[in-house]
Symmetry: C2
Subunit: 340 residues, 2 copies
């Protein structure tokens, strides 16, 4: 039978209350008894019982807040689905989530949203803009006792509890690996990123180039473009790239704007000559895969990102459980039309 707080109390000849105070660092207990209790607890390998905790804590309704740069970005639809699924799974324990979305990389707006939400929630899950101002803000929140988790994008040198999301470098490496296999290691590549101000996009390109260098000496990157995560902009810039580089026979779409890129390739009638690899799988991307325009896409388990971040926040709030790893990295999944 598992060891409970009661058993420890018996063994130490004190009351449950005292053991509780020690094990949850509530103070107000004599040093020497504290030491004794801790010793016995460790020795017996005490682990708090979740069901008990959850039942007792039920009186307090927990609110978990989310700030996501989700507007106009279909990728986040699945993240939100994961969040909502977690809310449902945790409804027994009185958990409510509150999602605030924003559009684009407006630091001021994100700070504003943080201030709006911070006093209403027990934990904050944020898809942060990776700039010092946000990092500082996160640290402030944590100092004030709020539980903060970064999702999808990390700010490593901040005091957040943990990061849940992908390894962008890995995604880029995988993309290059796939492209290498599809082209036999010989291609003239156009890279269409979202913005060269976004860390994640740059890391994907970095990973891509690493593999290029190590394994595919005959890969030539012939041009770059920025889609600004917008299909129209993507369409224009891809058109330009295709005109300037008729030798281009492969495209890596690093971020959003995938559909715009595809439409440009289609407008040149070159969809059969150009191997397109993209990231993530939103409906328009899936449609393009079904039409054979996109050959493969590298996904980052958005549902799990949303779901796991809520569960992690909840576990921390309920039992002070700190994740064993500061980063929970989702898989870089290769999807083709057959395994969508």
């Amino acid at each position: 039978m598992a060891v409970t707080i009661n058993k420890i109390a018996d063994l130490c000849g004190v009351s449950r209350g005292t053991v509780d105070r020690v094990l949850n660092n509530r103070g107000r207990v004599k040093k020497e008894t504290e030491i004794r209790i801790r010793e016995i607890a460790n020795q017996l390998g005490y682990t708090p019982n979740m069901a008990g905790k959850q039942l007792a804590i039920r009186k307090k309704a927990l609110t978990i807040g989310l700030i996501l740069i989700a507007e106009g970005n279909a990728f986040f639809d699945d993240v939100i689905r994961g969040v909502q699924s977690a809310e449902k799974e945790l409804q027994d324990y009185g958990v409510t989530v509150q999602i605030k979305t924003m559009k684009g990389y407006n630091v001021y707006r994100q700070l504003q949203l943080i201030d709006e939400i911070k006093d209403k929630v027990d934990a904050l899950i944020i898809n942060p803009i990776s700039v010092p101002a946000i990092a500082t803000k996160i640290d402030e929140l944590v100092e004030d006792g709020l539980c903060v988790i970064t999702v999808n994008t990390d700010i490593e040198n901040s005091k957040r509890l943990c990061y849940i999301g992908s390894n962008y470098t890995r995604c880029g490496q995988t993309a290059c690996g796939v492209l290498g296999l599809l082209t036999g290691g010989r291609a003239h590549i156009g890279i269409l990123t979202g913005s060269n101000k976004v860390l994640g996009h740059n890391e994907r390109i970095k990973g891509f180039k690493e593999v290029c260098k190590k394994k595919y000496p005959d890969f030539k990157i012939v041009g770059y473009g920025e889609t600004e995560d917008d299909d129209i902009k993507a369409f224009e810039v891809t058109n330009k790239l295709l005109s300037e580089h008729p030798e281009m026979d492969a495209i890596f779409v690093v971020a959003a704007g995938v559909y715009g890129v595809c439409r440009a390739v289609l407008s040149f009638g070159r969809e059969h000559e150009i191997t397109i690899i993209s990231c993530d799988s939103i409906p328009t991307t899936i449609e393009m895969m079904k039409q054979g325009v996109i050959k493969a896409t590298i996904c980052q388990q958005p549902f799990i990102q949303g779901n796991k971040s809520v569960h992690t926040a909840f576990n921390y709030l309920v039992s002070g459980e700190v994740p064993e790893n500061k980063q929970f990295i989702v898989q870089s999944e290769i999807k083709i039309v057959e395994n969508l």
Copy 2:
């Protein structure tokens, strides 16, 4: 606030005990009160509280038994890791798992193991041999009130609670899709299956051929071999195939014996000319991928298969929760060396 059994009792003017008897079909309650209670419960949308259930049920130690055809099959190592992880996650609730392993497709042996374990467990998770004798046995167990879940291999027309595992057809389709992309849709393919008596292997081949037919008219399947899931046998039969079909430039390894196949290809010095696609990722397969001998492998989330099956059994035992789908199908994951 969520609706509890207590609230229902109040509203109906009865005691919790009565409500409990009704909602858990324990009988011994007057028809008309039963109807009234059910009505109110439905109306209020009562959902049992997990934490409460789990605390109360804790007195009974639950045992979940597993029968896996795991010996000599490294694929199952990850399944078992998933099972053990689930055991740890559920230890708070007094769950113990008991794993029995066997080697090869010996129906009599499997029946024997079932008889050994059936009276000692509250649920049985089985990786069944797909023959009528086992199906009948499963039905008997279920009739006797045991909870039975099939894992990794299903027996669809049986009374098992549900199946947790892959869609083998899908795996084969994915393999063909990948091969199509890697070869430009033109290849002379050798197929090395485990045994043509194993349903899953045949389904993979079926899926592979489907995509061949639909998308890749220039794929020619030039030969078949059976590895009997054994590396030595695989080595021999692949050697034979390579001798008889020098035009062969692609291999789909359907089941185990992957390493033997690779060694044969290496012994012919043809590892650069032959595109090998395999299934699953055991250590020797990973090694061959790193050496570039295998280009891609299609995986079926073994850890999740093990983990999820235990959790599903637990949920059923604790709350009678029947899975919403009779089949929980894991993803067919494409793995290359970059995203292993």
